[in-house]
């Protein structure tokens, strides 16, 4: 059987055994509704409270500032719409960036249709926003700045603390989508001036369908879901206790293992980058060379197309992802690759390999070896490569 190597950890991660073990009892014997008064209900409530404490501790927040959601996208939606609608009397202007996750961009687009004004900040060739441009974009009507902590495609980490400072100097709320950053970057919401932060369990070896939104005490935000009194009446619905327990355990493990995790992934990431760049011609590393997630690698291989690359990698058991248009069925390559200024033909040949705790050095060697063969094979088929060779 072909060796199977998973390098799409930015898309999702497998659940770790410790996380699954923690969750299992809450599907069966500890199945109670956390709102019930009897023992099995109290057990669920206790698990809910403990998980809230774990999530809060991991980002330097208070437990009462943590609200569980159905995932990162829900948290983003809630933060942005919640602030927008609750603070409309103050203003109707929101600032974000052009490289946000669709959960943010599409929410902002929705709000534009509802009469809000949104400024989409440009990014430089590495994917960083310009702080002066941010300052200059602020108006009297600005009520929210929402900028992602780290980009899901190119891994670039934004100057979050400085963004928060700028926001607070002007009395504007600052939300950050930290779905990719949690478990990869040390985060303290107090030190980083963050008012709201979105996170998700399945990017940190926890279950899918559960996330959390940190809302700093005092931030004026509309409820997300109306119904029962769960989550202090701000997000109604019976709590997903097994999922929440999984999130609590996953974030606890991620926080405790952060140093070890980072050091391992940095070593693997740098090896992958160095080996690919030294062994394959016409390759570009997308994203910031240093300010990037420890497990993120994003290359553009000139003269070939990303989906063909992904299919070929899959045939030798390697799972990655691409920002090429043909893998998504759209006409344009990823908005992130376009925003950092890549020409279409280069962006089409992009490949993201996101490393995780279950990867090792042998995986890198296997990927580099096969990548070289595949890139060469596809280039031999490419009329664009033929032109370059003809000119050489």
């Amino acid at each position: 059987m072909t060796r199977q190597i998973y390098m799409d950890n930015a898309a999702t991660t497998p659940i770790k055994k410790e996380v699954l073990d923690a969750m299992m009892p809450y599907f069966t014997e500890k199945f109670g509704n956390a709102s019930s008064v009897y023992r099995v209900g109290r057990e669920s409530k206790k698990a809910l409270d403990e998980s809230r404490e774990k999530v809060a501790k991991s980002i330097g927040a208070k437990p009462k500032e943590i609200y569980f959601t159905g995932g990162g996208s829900e948290a983003d939606n809630w933060a942005i719409k919640g602030v927008a609608f609750a603070n409309r009397n103050k203003g109707n202007h929101i600032i974000t960036s052009k490289i946000e996750h669709p959960a943010v961009l599409n929410t902002c687009e929705y709000l534009e249709k509802e009469g809000f004004e949104v400024t989409y900040l440009d990014v430089d060739e590495y994917g960083l926003i310009n702080l002066d441009e941010l300052k200059n974009s602020i108006k009297d009507e600005t009520i929210l700045i929402t900028i992602m902590f780290a980009n899901n495609e190119i891994g670039t980490i934004q100057p979050v603390k400085e963004i928060g400072e700028i926001a607070h100097q002007k009395g504007i709320y600052f939300h950050t989508d930290a779905v990719q950053a949690i478990g990869n970057v040390a985060i303290n919401v107090e030190e980083l001036n963050i008012d709201m932060l979105s996170l998700s369990a399945h990017k940190i070896y926890g279950p899918k369908g559960v996330g959390a939104l940190y809302i700093r005490q005092g931030v004026k935000v509309h409820p997300y879901m109306h119904g029962g009194a769960q989550e202090k009446s701000r997000r109604a619905g019976t709590e997903n206790i097994p999922g929440i327990v999984g999130l609590g355990k996953a974030i606890e493990l991620a926080t405790n293992n952060l140093e070890e995790h980072n050091s391992k992934l940095l070593k693997l990431r740098n090896k992958l980058i160095n080996d690919v760049m030294s062994k394959i011609d016409y390759v570009r590393l997308n994203g910031h060379p240093e300010k990037r997630l420890p497990g993120n690698v994003n290359f553009s291989f000139e003269f070939i197309e990303g989906e063909a690359l992904l299919l070929s990698l899959d045939m030798v058991g390697i799972a990655g992802s691409s920002g090429s248009a043909c893998s998504s069925g759209s006409l344009d390559p990823s908005h992130v690759l376009m925003a950092i200024g890549l020409p279409h033909e280069i962006a089409h040949g992009s490949l993201r390999l996101s490393l995780g705790d279950f990867n090792n050095e042998e995986d890198i060697d296997y990927v580099v070896e096969n990548l070289g063969i595949i890139v060469n094979r596809l280039r031999q088929m490419s009329p664009l490569y033929e032109k370059v060779r003809g000119n050489a």
């Binding site: 003269f303 197309e305 043909c326 893998s327 069925g329 089409h348 031999q380 009329p383």
Partner: protein, 144 residues
């Protein structure tokens, strides 16, 4: 997403390469859209005796090129002109709707190479009068 036949032609593409001194060469698509197909034809006495291709594109684009070369080989010019994108897609046991443009590109690549042949030889080929090789096929649309 892809049929076994598409995957077969993608992983083992037939007729990849170039023909030196080809009688007709056609290139369609553009790098901006992520698909370029280049087709080379060898034509003897009105029969396509050899065909090669080079493609920059996704799995479906490579498979469509490969299948198109298989379909035109040994055909007369008229028969080759009768190969539609639908025929290419059907021969591949279908393509996802969003990838049908790849089969259109394959049809255009054949026509483009035949147009080049007609120009080189100063002959008119019926059916190519209104063919524009620069026409954009990359609309991911509803071609049949």
């Amino acid at each position: 997403m892809y049929s076994e036949k598409v995957m077969d032609h993608f992983s083992n593409p037939r007729n990849v390469g170039e023909i030196q001194n080809a009688d007709g060469v056609g290139e369609v698509g553009n790098a901006k859209c992520g698909d370029i197909m280049k087709m080379y034809l060898k034509i003897d006495d009105g029969i396509i005796t050899d065909v090669k291709f080079k493609t920059f594109g996704c799995g479906s684009a490579i498979a469509s090129s490969s299948m198109a070369t298989e379909l035109v080989k040994g055909k007369t010019i008229d028969e080759a002109l009768g190969i539609t994108n639908k025929a290419v897609a059907e021969a591949l046991d279908g393509l996802p709707p969003v990838k049908m443009h790849c089969s259109v590109l394959a049809e255009q690549a054949i026509k483009s190479a035949l147009l080049d042949y007609s120009k080189k030889n100063g002959i008119q080929i019926k059916g190519l009068e209104n063919f524009d090789p620069n026409e954009d096929a990359h609309d991911h649309g509803d071609h049949e």
